[in-house]
Subunit: 186 residues, 2 copies
Amino acid sequence: MQRDAEATRQRLIEAGRAEFAAHGLAGARVDRIAEAARSNKAQIYHYFKSKAGLFEAVWNSAVGEIIGGLPFDVEDLPGVAARLSDIYAEHPDLPRLITWQNLERAGQPLSGLGVEEVRRRSAALADAQARGVVSDRFDPRVLFAVIVHTAMLWPATAPELLAVVDLDDPGKRREIVRQVVTALID
Amino acid sequence: MQRDAEATRQRLIEAGRAEFAAHGLAGARVDRIAEAARSNKAQIYHYFKSKAGLFEAVWNSAVGEIIGGLPFDVEDLPGVAARLSDIYAEHPDLPRLITWQNLERAGQPLSGLGVEEVRRRSAALADAQARGVVSDRFDPRVLFAVIVHTAMLWPATAPELLAVVDLDDPGKRREIVRQVVTALID
């Protein structure tokens, strides 16, 4: 029983992720999510209380997936940004979820895990700066934010730019992201 | 009569801009736009054919406003990015519109003016690189995209980052954007 419950919960999170990535929180339809998860609306309210509660579960799970897939090596910050660029290219629903979260929820409630990791990684950057491994021209928290933002270069870019820049190949995008971060820490 | 028509059209574009910035294209309500513009739904369909047609008019107008407010001085690219950061801070509806356009429309149809300006400004960058005014470590179109993306650092940043970085002051944000672009063209 316990295992069935967990399996249902997981299917709802997966279906919710696809629906929210496509339509955002306001545009998502609970009945479509229930159908895609071979479940029903009552189960969604049972497990997550509300549509927003399911979004929060999806968000926490997505943040966990990004953090888990992105080891943080302060000796290779260009590589970290390049890897994040690849994660976004491989899972285009992730940058979309990030963008919806930013647009529709102004980040409330935040992912506790996300905030904690930003703190931990900024502290690791501060330490690397103190050891002289990374240039200290930026505040470490700012540098962390810039690295993460740089990896969003393509998914967040206005389409008029993409029409001119014409970089469909994720490999080329990754190398540009790597080059930008290299310039920042020189 | 001609002048009244133009005034109505302008009021609808302004009301549409507020509504689309808040709710996006799918979430926007045509009746709310009509009411805010002291007009009616029939007028919206008369002037813009559809809700999407009004979004397109809003988008073209917003792109024109950004371009008009952002002289492009290749000798001061950090200043260009800083000015764009200020524009976004002063008009938070602009980065929101850009983000909705990106999320909901995958950029179709594009702003012709926007594409043309990206081409013109990239060509000016290529020329500055040829003259040795700007480092040629980046393709000029890529450099232009990176400058524009850098100015979106704060409005596009995941809230977990903002919670840690804590930079509410647009003046401080502007200086960071300036510093990032300075590092890129060194």
